[in-house]
Subunit: 226 residues, 2 copies
DNA sequence: CCTTTTCAAACTGTCGACAGTCGGCAATCG
DNA sequence: CGATTGCCGACTGTCGACAGTTTGAAAAGG
């Protein structure tokens, strides 16, 4: 019970406690060790992690702003439970962001950006053959983050980073493995080809198709799980 | 100066302390009672408002997630100082959101929504003639919020609500009065006409023009102030 | 046996306090 | 006189504690 001896028990050691608690919670939620809708007790968490309630509270508020937790006044925090329409909304928002990023990116596309993106797709093809699903998802997110980063709008990137956590949760909730390696490769090469062509219309069609595939996966996944 | 007698001095009384502190800070920042880049001391704020540091901290974190404050580890919170490119990015993000909302809205537009929007524009024309600049800005934001709300994507709305605070700060930093009443009216009627026509292309042109006007104001405002 | 009331346990919101750290200023040295 | 180093004050990060409220269940009543 003593806090000093509980340090060995808790996963937390040093650095910013808030960040560490946030990391711990994020992973726990996405890996569904906490069920959707489950209530999280501040004191319980603080005890389990061997820290006081203050860092736990701050971390929870952070996750709330990222959409992984929801809070009810005087009731506490609950693991976000996404229903079908919310899942669709998230992917629709993602489409909104990436469409815009593609439109901006095609205007200031250069060899350096193309090479970086190309390299990332090659990496994705690599991990698609050998690595775990979560690794595939992470590399896919890295690619799309690069797309938005290269668009030049840092505010856009911030929004994307925010919904990234929500996206991971969505993907985890659907519980389906990612698409086939071939599909992944084809989809992403199409995006690069569209960018290289310099044609905005073609870019838009490419990203619409790309996110559309992802969204269809979501809708389909919902139909199966619920 | 004493903390106990400062209760009368402080603006805070009851309800959720966090919300009240957040409101107070938001208004103070947007009205520029705190200069951009100014450092905010937690203890100082807590003393001034007659509360403890905990609610102040939480409120500050909330404002940070909304982009009104930035935090440096171990240094504290600073009032967000927006430079030119950041202002442009914010308005570009806004364009991204509203374009998407318009595209979604035109697909499920009905008489009820049209009437609500129409009424709001009429209200805006009204306040454009008689009321203060801040009131005009608020009603303008209400209109654009309705636009996004009616698009049906609640996640989109959440992002918009987040950047609303940042938008107010942008507008305040530019320090220009809003456009002429005639301009406001024309711009917004054009949006409604485009929606009524049911033509996606026309909708897009209308919103592009609309936000473009706002962005030009921003760029122009920067050129003058800096 | 089912409904209602009451009570205790647990939890959140808030507070004051302590320790480690950072920034600025002065004293010392070259 | 300029640069470096040590010190002092202030502040953030973190902690434990208390009060009011909510929850769940036990007890009382129909």
């Amino acid at each position: 019970m003593t806090s000093s001896s509980a340090f060995g028990n808790g996963v937390i050691q040093q650095r910013n406690l808030v960040e560490q608690v946030a990391d711990y919670l994020t992973k726990a939620i996405i890996s569904q060790r906490y069920a959707p809708g489950e209530r999280l007790s501040e004191v319980q968490l603080a005890r389990d992690l061997g820290v006081s309630r203050a860092p736990v509270r701050e971390a929870a508020r952070l996750l709330e702003s990222r959409g992984l937790l929801v809070s009810q006044p005087r009731r506490g925090f609950f693991v976000r439970a996404l229903d079908a329409s919310e899942l669709i909304d998230v992917f629709d928002l993602r489409l909104c962001l990436e469409r815009h990023a593609m439109a901006r990116l095609v205007d200031n596309y250069d060899a350096q950006k193309e090479q970086a993106l190309r390299r990332q797709v090659e990496l994705m093809c690599e991990v698609a053959l050998h690595d775990s699903d979560s690794r595939k998802i992470e590399e896919d997110l890295v690619f799309h983050r690069m797309l938005i980063d290269f668009s030049g709008n840092r505010r856009l990137l911030k929004v994307f980073d925010d919904i990234t956590h929500e996206l991971r949760l969505c993907i985890a909730l659907i519980g389906k493995t990612h698409a086939e390696p071939d599909t992944i490769a084809t989809c992403h090469w199409q995006l690069l080809d569209a960018l290289a062509s310099g044609d905005p219309q073609r870019c838009r069609e490419a990203i619409d198709y790309h996110i559309g595939v992802a969204r269809d996966y979501v809708v389909q996944g919902i139909g199966e799980s619920s």
